[in-house]
């Protein structure tokens, strides 16, 4: 993470020998800096420490116990070994891996729509608003509407029949795999707007004259899109990836809760839903804490990778 400041700091001691008066004035400023800095930062620091750091440390401790919310006995690291040996755990992670497939799909849709919007055809701002609106819909509402849309006589099946793909018609939420596909499709619907907005923002930062230069050099639209736009959007791709991937791991709980309840069988139980079930449905808070730590480690990995990649070209 970048911590260096973009601007030189006010009152920061420059080093070297200074007249005594300046030195004294500097000491007063130094005290003001420390006092004011501490005062201004204190509320944020308190919130982060008391409401985030303390509970995550607790979660780490309890993850090695058989905590039930009231009492706990120390089990030690073998608690993790037991969990990793459980096929259910891997089944749940598999669902997460499948859901991750939706991430590049969402990003591709986003880039495509952004490229179209960036042509600024007649009414493009209306289209941009229309594309963003689905992002504002809560996962609960998406779940409630999704049940209707993916039902045997629902909208999706009617649509498939209309475009000649009637062979795909099925009770989407009735079998594990197709239910996961339905969840993934709803995920794409929800996140395509924010992805489009990220790429539109990125494209608007590109200087249009370089396209003119490329055109003069004989590049066609496809060549300048692949050769100029895509590489120049690198940072935006990374950002979109992190936003979308983190959502896939940690934002879909309410959708699963309302649309599928994690089923059929374990078909749509992802790790975040599994955490809720372990802790609040079956009362094994220790198991929930363990799964929470696993989720934390996964997201930590994703974010660190992004930072690595971002700093490499910064």
């Amino acid at each position: 993470m970048e911590t260096t400041r973009s601007t030189p700091q006010t009152g920061h001691s420059v080093g070297g020998v200074r007249p005594a008066t300046v030195h004294r004035a500097n000491r007063g400023l130094q005290r003001d800096r420390t006092m004011s800095g501490a005062l201004l930062v204190a509320p944020a620091l308190l919130v982060v420490v008391l409401l985030l750091v303390v509970p995550i440390v607790q979660a780490f401790y309890y993850s090695m116990t058989n905590w039930d919310g009231l009492t706990s006995h120390w089990v030690g690291p073998s608690a993790y070994a037991t969990m990793f040996a459980d096929p259910t755990f891997w089944r749940v992670l598999e669902n997460n891996a499948m859901l991750l497939v939706a991430v590049p799909v969402t990003m591709l849709c986003g880039v495509g729509l952004a490229a179209l919007l960036h042509e600024h055809v007649w009414g493009w701002r209306v289209f941009r608003a229309a594309i963003i609106i689905p992002t504002a819909v809560s996962w609960v509402v998406l779940g409630v509407v999704g049940i209707q849309a993916f039902a045997a006589d629902g909208l999706i099946n009617q649509l498939l029949g209309a475009v000649g793909l009637g062979i795909l018609r099925q009770d989407w939420l009735g079998s594990p795999f197709s239910a996961l596909v339905a969840v993934a499709a709803t995920f794409v619907y929800s996140l395509v707007g924010i992805n489009t907005l990220i790429f539109v923002t990125g494209m608007s930062t590109i200087d249009p004259t370089i396209y003119e230069a490329a055109r003069i050099d004989g590049a066609n639209w496809r060549q300048s899109f692949l050769g100029l736009t895509i590489p120049l959007l690198r940072r935006y791709f990374l950002f979109a990836f992190v936003v979308t991937a983190i959502s896939a791991f940690s934002a879909v709980f309410s959708l699963i809760y309302t649309m599928t309840g994690g089923g059929p069988d374990l078909g749509t139980t992802t790790i975040e839903f599994f955490i809720y079930q372990a802790a609040f449905a079956t009362g094994s808070f220790g198991e929930g804490a363990r799964l929470g730590i696993v989720l934390f480690v996964i997201l930590f990995g994703i974010t660190l990778t992004q930072l690595r990649l971002m700093n490499r070209d910064a």
């Binding site: 509970p55 504002a136 509407v145 955490i275 989720l295 934390f296």
Partner: protein, 293 residues
Amino acid sequence: MDETLTTRAEDTRRIELGTLRRRTRHPVTTGRLAIFVTLAVVSAALLYPFYFMIETSFRSNQQYLLGSGFSLRSWTALFQGVPVAQEMVNSLGLCAGTILAVLVIAAPAGFALAKIRFRGDVFVFLGIMGSMMIPLQSFIIPEYVNFAGLHLINTYVGAVLVYVAVGTPFSTFLMTTFFRGIPDELIDAGLCDGLGYLGVFRRIALPLSGPALATLIVLRFIPVWNDFLVGLLFLQEPGVRPFTVGLGVLASSQLVSVPALMAGSLLSTIPAAIVYVVFQRYLVAGLTLGSSQ
């Protein structure tokens, strides 16, 4: 040719500023027509669920099953079955409380981290940024048990504290990035006038940070308004429930008809959709700051 080029450059600049007013004139070509049609079709598809919600909500259950006829019966059923007004007020109150708290916490912290060099500032910055990576599901179980011990379950304070915990790291990051853009000369001038850092923050930096605060408000409103998990756990009693939780519970109870659920869904979606469309500009600003760390 030259002219279209400059207008395009200008457009881009204005889009960034969000002030584009004049429509650029492009010749209508087959390519542009195809783009228009594609965008129209995609938009229609993406908005179809809204059409479905609206149409269905104005039917009674029987009319819905038959597929013809309209009535207000489902809307009255929704308002009879759920304390809609109470839950809406709950949701709004939670949003207002969270936004206010986050503003009061993140703005000063952002200023200090951007403009004051104090002992340990790097550690504070790294700590707050690092806590951005802690997902809600990882800390919510101990938080829930802690809050239960403090009798904060089913209180607004408890839920707001969780929302604030989730929102503080990114909001502080956003404010830090914003305040870094304020020239040091302004800060120095204030210091020379004897304002001290607290005075500089209150009289100089804060009045300049309107757009950043607006971005923060928009970015905080949506997740709290649309939240389900925090409300489900920390506000379980019907009287304190936010609207999304009421809707989710209603959906899983299967006590009401599909049209009534659609009416509720629509009601829950409208405020968030309006905020998104009207304040799009601030959303873009937030994204720009987020992707340019």
